[in-house]
Symmetry: C2
Subunit: 348 residues, 2 copies
């Protein structure tokens, strides 16, 4: 059951009790938050199902969290009771490695602490996420949520939002660039909004004719149907950057074709082996295939502020806690536009 | 037999005679060169064998060419009779596309003209390469070969040299960086020399214990044996840049492990599908998998000048033309240190 190296290390130190579901008491630097909304990420379902063989039951999923501060530790300076705040995919990191020092806590070389299912020295158990009425988090991993945004659409910004915003910024997407967002789901719909707001010529690339209208409403200048070989051929070598949000293994070669010389395709969805990568595609155009994981804390705050400046939120369907199993079934069928959000006061 | 689109297009215009082996007469901008040495690249063997299904017989291979100018057209200004010159993998490009305008003729969007087996409007046939006593090339694709270098070791600079130099420069390899050169063959031995000369901490990564001593003589600070799992584990996350010169399909995942956050592995050898790429490797470290093809003309001249400044040449075994079939057999077994070069006065 205890499958991760970090978990095994804690266990060896006698610090793990996988059956503990106690949250920690707030420490001097902690912020206690009453959760109002929590987004439903496909990752939650993977962990619930133990698809990746690393689930530590019992699990409390949820890493797209919005709520108000209900209490702060003695030494907390950045937050006070009543503040609207958010928690994303991380609640801790070493703070000392090069990645942390550079504000890339998501790549912490000693392993960041995920918001749920991560070994936690504080409780001796694992961390528990946002499908809950409250959470306690170190102030360094708490974010200010702008009050101006419609709150129901904000929770998914914490994972779907930053996962797409960070690579678009890292690869300097902006005016004068042609950018393709591959896949129109939870991640893809945020990618289109951000690429458009950053000033890029934004093309949604999808297999579904039915998504054309929606993609344009979200901000896409054009829509390219991936199964239309003629249309794809005409666009070969035209894209500066592609953000690939497809969440499963797929053949990426046709997409690499779309890139200009020196173009980059960044994969953010498929956390698994890709069946096939044609190295000739990379060689004959000095193309880049890259990946990107969420974003650092500072950049996540920057993203939330960017959303406030551009009135960007996620498109969501609000559900009650008791609807979660139904929501998971629909998630598998991509039957949601574009993210479920749980109203936490439905949890009694 | 006529398999390439460019070739088919010329054929449709009635401009192709695949059985013509006439070289063109020198035009006003052409340079005629008496070839002294021509390197033997593995690509030559692929074309001779039609491994890639695009060979146009008869073939005259060879794209690592060194020789002296024996004549110039009326309008040639950069070269005169007797100059020591070189020709690499290209003899033409459109000159007008964005790639050409940026000095990246190798990525010409209208298709560069390869030194051999490329459709040629000039002759109505295909281009013929350096396994020959002479060649006629437009001055824009002729390079000055520094006289200070030992001539027998210079020919391979034109392919093996620029193929490794260009990515090392493109990804800013230099002091303070830890760089791995994967594979010690014709490309790899040049990669080690260049990375060392550029001031990087240079590590040869090879499967062969027998190559350790040689790698160090070539300039490697360290050698990492790829099959030594413990040694590889210790080096995980340590490399800024990897130049992968392995010429065939292979599992690249263990090498991606070696990269730091934001590190890049550039593939220059395997012009074919890679069996397996773990996208999680890219995502969890924002890593890049890239490719690179030779280099532009300006950069190739810069590379030759760099070689003169740092006394860099290839390690070669000089052969006579009549030994070519034996050389090909040995090439397949990697039985050469590290490049065969044909002495062209052996061609009678």
């Amino acid at each position: 059951m205890n499958t991760t190296p970090a978990y095994a290390a804690l266990e060896a130190k006698g610090k793990v009790n996988p059956f503990s579901i106690e949250r920690r008491d707030p420490g001097p630097h902690d912020v206690q938050i009453d959760i109002e909304y929590c987004g439903v990420c496909h990752t939650d379902l993977h962990f619930v199902n133990n698809d990746w063989g690393m689930s530590q039951y019992p699990i409390v999923p949820g890493h797209e969290i919005v709520g108000r501060v209900s209490g702060v530790g003695d030494k907390v300076e950045k937050y006070k009771q009543g503040d609207l705040t958010a928690i994303g995919c991380m609640v801790g990191s070493c703070g000392t490695c090069q990645s942390c020092q550079r504000g890339n806590e998501q790549y912490c070389q000693n392993g960041m602490t995920a918001t749920y299912n991560s070994p936690s020295e504080d409780t001796g158990g694992v961390t528990f996420g946002g499908y809950s009425k409250s959470i306690v988090v170190h102030e360094n991993f708490v974010l200010h949520m702008p009050e101006s945004l419609e709150i129901t659409g904000t929770a998914p910004l914490l994972c779907a939002g930053i996962t797409t915003y960070s690579p678009l910024r890292h690869w300097h997407v902006g005016e004068g660039m042609k950018v393709g967002i591959i896949g129109l789901g939870g991640l893809g719909h945020m990618g289109v909004k951000f690429a458009h707001a950053l000033g890029a010529q934004t093309v949604m690339i999808t297999n579904s004719e039915s998504k054309v209208e929606d993609a344009k409403l979200l901000g896409a200048d054009d829509v390219l149907i991936a199964s239309d070989a003629d249309a794809i051929r005409k666009e070969c070598g035209e894209f500066d950057f592609l953000l690939n949000t497809i969440p499963v293994n797929h053949n990426i070669d046709p997409y690499l074709d779309l890139l200009k010389i020196d173009g980059t395709m960044c994969v953010v969805g498929a956390i698994e082996p890709l069946e096939h990568v044609n190295a000739a595609q990379l060689i004959f155009g000095r193309k880049n295939l890259a990946g990107s994981l969420i974003g650092g804390i500072k950049e996540t705050q920057e993203m939330l502020n960017f959303c406030a400046d551009h009135s960007i939120i996620s498109e969501v369907e609000v559900i009650k806690m008791e609807q979660i199993n139904e929501a998971y079934k629909r998630l598998v069928k991509s039957d949601v536009k574009y993210r479920f959000v749980i109203e936490m006061n439905s949890l009694s």
